[in-house]
Symmetry: C2
Subunit: 421 residues, 2 copies
């Protein structure tokens, strides 16, 4: 299978210098990027009025939580979890998770996301939905043992089951990830087990980290240490770890994360909406921490729109420091693309020969995207999910001119129409 | 002319309680809101899968500045103005302002905006564009005299000319507004002239106020007073004044604005992007100040999407106070609707019998808007410009199912395609 994208304006390589050229895709790879490629291809896509960008990587989400979009509003994280989300989750059925994941995957397709890191339960259902839609998912069972040994055994069993399930799938797109929920909801024994399995299975790990001030207090009381220090003790600080949020970090914490090559998945919308706090982005980047971007779940966002997430990430830093130059658009765009790829050990996230063909195409013939003085700024500050017309994941066209080709979108939408009010 | 909107879910009155009903519009008014209206109408619109909301009021913008979208990125306000925007504006031609305004108006239509407050120059061109598209514009010539008497005479002449031009139009939709740029760019004499004319012409006034810390410093050095105190001396503090931004306000300033019934047009995206600061929203509301919402110009936003503006307005306050309950969605929605109407003395901004028929319709059959547990939260945190399908302004259908009916959108877009890069 080969695809030829004709005449688009490409944000090329890591310079993102806007370049007018064609892109030839063969199999799952970008094989050629140059003007006027004169080769036959199975599919030719006219991109002459379009901006072509690497597809996005959503480094932290809980896809089935779209089901709870708008369920609990204007409340802080602990209240939100304990009084709204956890009770609702206890009633959640396997089948609902499947349909929720499908809805979430559709939303991510329209947002230009090729790849997502997911933490939830009934993850076999998410795997099924991911395969149907054709995105790339790193799927983890969210372990919560709360110092209860029996619960820990159950969580370990669930994790082993998911690992076996995904291993047997032998899929190029659905991958396993270990997903202990957080240092304050997982015992040290649980975290140590995860570290062991990460080495044994050669698996990535994702966790929530330093999301609220309460968490810091809890860890201080329990361990007399910061959550980062506890992860170090559990042997989890290494380049396989993707830590979501990372808001309440000391200078020492940042240095530890940097020296051990941990990735932080920054989730500004959720952090703002739950009043959790402001990620120290400049310090993290200056420490050379790999910062990726995530939407978090739609229950606290309330979307899976990674373009709006980029805008927020930038705007929040600018206003918080009263310095509009504090972070550059290139840095923000990297978070949503190549930094996520780096965390996931994927040769993806940029448009360049030899890289995985994960590509999003934006038709520029829209009143809010013109004129185009600065394509990268327009992408980050003017565009939004829904502006993505065509999405290619691993060399396969998932959406063409706004129409999802892999599943029946209408059917999924009809399933949720009338749910709620 | 009558319009019947059938079977939509309405955010009704000021309670915004989601109500399933029909809406009958006759002329420019909403005449009936109830279930199963059995009357003939010239146009019947099926809204059975739609959310129906009052159209938005953009209380502060510079519409033609869409032309400069993305032109100057990552720089602070004074640098942005002096080194990028003002030099570009000196070269701007009358015709470009006309086309820029058309592009901006289209963007506002897709954002569900019925009414906007605009400050710029060549405003006759903006008036022309506004009449063509069919929105309601309060159009002001932005006066800047910089203590130069000759320049002041010129600015006064321009303002008088625009006042005469708009008065002669005798339009229900295009209205005049006085628009001195800011207390630091207008002399006290200029501001006093504006106050006089506001009474003489019974005109509203709009101005930038307390946008940056620099402005406070400049005013302190020049007058030994705050910008609010200077406006008081100029006799501008009254219920005809719409002051944009209002970030750096003392407790005393807030009390003065409250007791004189001034409206603040809050512009979070622009304030964040330029690193200007954070509007003290809770204090302002608690002082009973009428707070409206504006997008500012697209050069510092970089859109005219008032839905994204609502989301930002809420998220910024939540994270800044670490209190997710600091501001409720109802309060945010009021800013973007009825508070703007109040500032502009319009009987609009809510859906209720007897009010002006300014209505936006959102088709809910979209993956990012479902399920619908909380329509108001979904509107503010999940929706965005582009989700508006149908827009009715003053009883006239401006856009139906995403298609703008009043002007040729394609022609405007083609004009800007290829401008920039």
């Amino acid at each position: 299978m080969s695809i030829l994208l004709k005449g688009g304006l490409i944000l090329y390589d890591t310079s993102y210098h806007p370049t007018r050229a064609d892109i030839l895709i063969e199999g799952d790879k970008i094989v050629e990027v140059k003007r006027n490629i004169n080769k036959a291809a199975d599919e030719v896509i006219d991109a002459s009025h379009s901006l072509i960008i690497p597809a996005f990587i959503n480094a932290h989400t809980h896809s089935p939580m779209v089901i709870f979009r708008g369920l609990a509003e204007d409340v802080p994280l602990m209240d939100w979890l304990q009084n709204y989300i956890w009770p609702a989750e206890r009633k959640l059925k396997r089948k609902e998770v499947y349909w929720g994941a499908k809805l979430a995957l559709l939303e991510m397709v329209h947002s230009g996301i090729s790849t997502f890191v997911d933490m939830y339960f009934y993850m076999e259902e998410v795997a099924r939905a991911t395969l149907e839609v054709g995105l790339r998912g790193f799927l983890g069972y969210g372990m919560v043992d709360l110092e209860d040994e029996e619960k820990r055994r159950k969580e370990i069993k669930e994790t082993e089951k998911l690992h076996e399930f995904i291993t047997k799938l032998n899929s190029k797109l659905v991958k396993f990830i270990l997903a202990p929920h957080a240092p304050y909801t997982c015992s040290l024994d649980c975290l140590k087990w995860v570290a062991e399995k990460s080495r044994e299975w050669d698996s990535l790990v994702t966790i929530h980290l330093a999301e609220t001030r309460d968490e810091i207090k809890i860890m201080e009381e329990k361990y007399g240490r910061s959550p980062v220090e506890v992860l170090k003790e559990a042997n989890l600080l290494n380049d396989k770890l993707i830590a979501a949020h990372g808001i309440w970090l000391s200078k020492k914490d940042l240095e530890m994360l940097a020296s051990s090559n941990v990735t932080i998945a920054h989730c500004p919308a959720s952090n703002m909406k739950l009043g959790s706090g402001i990620f120290p982005m400049r310090d993290a980047i200056d420490e050379d921490i790999n910062v990726a971007l995530g939407t978090d779940g739609a229950a606290s966002n309330n979307t899976l729109d990674i373009i709006r997430e980029m805008r927020l990430a930038s705007l929040l830093q600018k206003v918080n420091t009263l310095n509009p130059a504090i972070v550059k658009s290139e840095e923000i765009f990297r978070m949503a693309t190549i930094n996520g790829a780096k965390a996931l050990k994927l040769k993806a996230g940029i448009i360049k020969e030899g890289y995985i063909a994960d590509i999003a195409v934006i038709n520029l013939k829209r009143s809010h995207l013109l004129p185009l003085h600065n394509p990268l700024a327009t992408l980050i500050f003017s565009a939004k999910a829904g502006d993505i017309d065509t999405l290619i994941v691993s060399g396969r066209v998932i959406m063409l001119d706004g129409e999802v080709l892999t599943i029946d979108e209408e059917k999924v939408i009809d399933k949720f129409l009338g749910v709620g009010i």
